[in-house]
Amino acid sequence: MTDFVLYDEELSALEMALGRLFHDANAKAVFLIDKNGQQIAAAGETEQFDTTSLASLTAGNVAATDGLAKLIGEREFSVLFHEGQQDHIHISIVAKRAILVVIFDDRSSLGLVRLRVKRASGELESIFETMAKKDGVRAGSPSTSSPFSEITDEDIDALFSE
């Protein structure tokens, strides 16, 4: 299985798209998460959230919902919405491999968030397509060697020295 690799250029493009969504949707925070539970990028008031836990629980939530969809013969439930007393979470799948999370309160509305998420999803999908194409080119080029190819046993042991 191929690893998921993220470079500066793509990260900036993703962050810009998330930043726009954050503003346009009047959200509190916006996160893009890999389906395996790793955070890819974020925008907004992210410091008030435990982003690592948020990513892992969201991925678990989406995986469980996917399982439910298959049980009843659906391909997927592409949107999840959790309504709280003050804050709400809108979760959607982007480009089949990422999860877009929008946290918002009563300064925004579900309708507005849905509308803006739809537009942002298209933008994010095209960034992911570019990433996939570039990955293909990089994989085919012998000149790009991974910085990890030179990891030594000492490097690895040093991690566990304490």
């Binding site: 690799v5 389906k35 395996n36 566990f160």
Partner: protein
């Protein structure tokens, strides 16, 4: 599936603790959590029933330090061990980089251990992985119990591919970090090969 973030200079890997119900998967994570300095760990999340049985998963993010300028981050997960939670177990194996199998040394649990290894093999296959090739460590837990089966016998029955095997008492930490280190090392060595 390792997530390499060149922009943030981070490597993120996922390790799953597998094994039959009540074998000590959550106890392994709890010990690691308790013994790790606060700046190297995130919050431990346990999605458990009211009786403290794992319902979906436990999750512990660990920061091991830097390697070639990249922060190495390991996300540890446990699966629910009880047989009827198989659908949830499958979900948690998604994108796994390495597996620790926690075996219960008690004689009465040997059959459950064997069944759980078989279940792991099947569930990995559904995600396109092979137990033969994935970074893997085997832990014989609860070595302090009087009914513990001899390690030779456990090795004969449970060892799958001559994987590194560790004796452990997860409640007091014996063998816990050795097992984690072994699988983490194998994952990093895999990364070197790519």
């Amino acid at each position: 599936m390792t997530f390499i973030n060149y922009a943030a200079k981070e490597i993120n890997c996922k390790i799953v603790y597998y094994g039959p119900g009540l074998c000590g998967k959550t106890t392994n994570l709890q010990y690691i959590y308790n013994k790790t300095s606060p700046d190297a760990k995130g919050k431990m999340i346990s999605l458990a029933t009211e009786t403290d049985r794992t319902l979906f998963f436990d999750f512990l993010p660990l920061d091991l330090g830097t390697i070639r300028g990249f922060t190495t981050r390991f996300h540890l997960y446990t699966v629910p061990g009880q047989v009827f939670y198989d659908a949830s177990r499958k979900l948690i194996l998604k994108g796994v980089d390495g597996v620790v199998f926690v075996a219960d040394s008690q004689e009465s649990r040997m059959e459950a251990n064997v069944e759980s290894v078989r279940n792991l093999e099947q569930n990995l296959q559904e995600h396109g992985f092979e137990l033969k090739s994935i970074p893997y460590a085997l832990q014989f837990n609860k070595r302090d119990l009087p009914s513990a089966v001899a390690t030779d016998e456990m090795y004969r029955v449970l060892n799958y591919k001559r994987e590194p095997t560790f004796e452990a008492v997860a409640t007091d930490g014996r063998g816990v970090f050795d097992t984690l280190k072994s699988v983490a090392k194998q994952i990093l060595i895999e990364l070197r090969k790519k």
